[in-house]
Amino acid sequence: MEETRIKELQRLAIAVRRDALRVQQTVGSGHLGGAFSAVELLIYLYFQRMRLDPARPDWPERDSFILSKGHAAIGYYSVLARRGFFPHAELDSYRQLGSRLQGHTQLDAAPGIEASTGSLGQGYSFGLGIALGNRKQGRQNTVYVMVGDGELDEGQVWEAVRLQSRLKLAGLVLIVDDNQLQLDDYTRNVNGAADLAAVFRAFGFHPVPTDGHDFAAIERAFAALRPDRPNVIIARTVKGKGISFMEDRIEWHAQKVNEAEYRQALEELRQQEVALA
């Protein structure tokens, strides 16, 4: 990826974080921590990787993305809006009565939303079903599913992993947003430390570890996917990434920013933007 393109994507990441902060400040709720860990991955997928057409959200040849960690919707909606699926102004309706932007994603509620999620653990099964259906109907498109590392507590994920290790559907890519925190504690404290790459390798997967905030590294990871094996990208990320006082802090799973924190967060994003110029 060219340096200028990387900078464009980095500016977009700042814009998405600013959107999410502003929306949370306006609406009074939303999960910033897990949204911010996923920002670069989402931007890479929607602005660099996926075959899609915002004017035709139901185009049969499109690639699909499933945000299985549905609480990260506050950042995801910003990415969809900035990619052109619906008006940017609609972000302010997030979590409000009558909105298309539900607190957790709802399939087809607004253009571009490809799954109903929020009850964790279901997205990979759903993506596997789409990928299987695509293959049966002769389509070559790809389904990307993002799960959180905490979400891997859910047994259903491993039911789907086993099925994919048997079917080896080429058009299905699992992405773990490995921010190492879940709602109550560090993931390692909740469910034990696990070498995710080794675990997935034992299931027959091709694991690709990457830095989930570095666009060049993310691109290298996607380039390393193999057509002959089930693929999982294990993206090491930081919960609350981009805002100093939120990074890797348990309380920012869904905590609301106060006025002073809001101003400081915006100032930090402004400085990041200046540094890019």
């Binding site: 399939l107 929020g118 997205g123 990979y124 099964s125 596997l128 079903g129």
Partner: protein, 310 residues
């Protein structure tokens, strides 16, 4: 009457028939193909069949994804697992997403008998009826199961289909059309209405003949559509007979009795009695013995009718 057959056998045969005419049909099984009778479909259409293993939650999610891709999946397992094992998956991935999945659940209620309480789904209709937008069907015999499956596959949207396990007489007229949301009047009468779904339709049918012999005019409603309900048929029964007895192989909580009470509570005076399993778990035993223990019998039905008429 035209013979005896197990509804699940009819389900398996009809799936194969539908497979010939519906190339979009895809059958999922959670390692119980012999019991749910999806084996024949697997043999005839191996490319449109998948055993996902003992993983019902994953099956529900995969079914939702297949529907999203444009296929028409039929996911099949026992009624104790779908919805019991994967209620949340049906709720989020299928019903809330309004995806075109057909949930085919065999071995309902006490009919599994010896396997005991764990395998006796006495709550499946309660769970499925609670979900907005989900059609809930419990056909009564093999003929009706065949027709209900065809309609379920043609219907655009999620459907739960409760399929009987045991052989039973075919009471549903072969010439009769099956319409989702319609109750069927098997016998018309003016003193009392007996309503059932699934295997208990044969019970009310036999009891009605007995009652008619003793001079009671009995209406028998076969109510295979738990959702949407045939409100008009229910209101007419309440108005014209003033007395209703429901009979079902399900907990009284949340099934047919609940549905009828919910519908008629705001209407005119009508006395309603429910026969079903009370607030207890089942246990191992022959299906007939379990039916007897829980009052799913002609004797109990006649008692309830006598009480209403007294």
């Amino acid at each position: 009457m035209n013979g005896w057959q197990a509804p699940r056998d009819s389900f398996g045969q009809t799936l194969v028939e539908l497979g010939e005419t519906h190339p979009e049909l895809f059958v999922l099984n959670a390692d119980v193909a012999k019991a749910t009778k999806t084996e024949a479909f697997a043999a005839r259409f191996p490319d449109r069949y998948l055993n996902v293993g003992i993983a019902e939650q994953n099956m529900a999610g995969v079914a939702a994804g297949l529907a999203r891709s444009g296929l028409v999946p039929v996911m099949s397992t026992f009624a104790c697992f779908a919805p019991g094992r994967c209620y949340d998956q049906i709720r989020q991935s299928i019903a809330y997403s309004n995806l075109n999945v057909k949930i085919a659940a065999t071995h309902p209620g006490l009919s599994v008998g010896m396997d005991g309480a764990i395998h006796q789904s006495l709550d499946d209709l309660a769970l499925m009826r609670a979900l907005p937008g989900l059609v809930v069907l419990a056909p009564s015999d093999a003929v009706q199961t065949r027709k209900a499956l065809i309609r379920a596959v043609e219907h655009q949207g999620p459907v739960y289909l409760r399929i009987g396990r045991l052989e039973c007489p075919n009471l549903f007229p072969a010439a009769e059309d099956f319409v989702i949301g319609k109750a069927y009047t098997l016998r018309d009468g003016s003193d009392v209405t007996l309503i059932a779904h699934g295997a208990t339709v044969q019970l009310v049918w036999a009891a009605a003949a007995e009652l008619e012999r003793s001079g009671v005019s009995v209406r028998v409603l076969d109510m295979p559509s738990l959702k949407p309900l045939d409100r008009e048929a229910l209101r007419r029964a309440a108005r014209e007979t003033g007395r209703i007895v429901t009979v079902e192989d399900h907990w009284l909580c949340g099934g047919l009795y609940s549905a009828v009470c919910e519908e008629l509570a705001a209407g005119g005076p009508c006395r309603i009695r429910g026969i079903g399993v009370g607030d207890v778990f089942g246990e191992s035993g022959a299906p007939g013995a379990l039916y007897a223990k829980h009052g799913l019998t002609q004797e109990r039905l006649l008692q309830e009718v006598a009480r209403l008429l007294a």
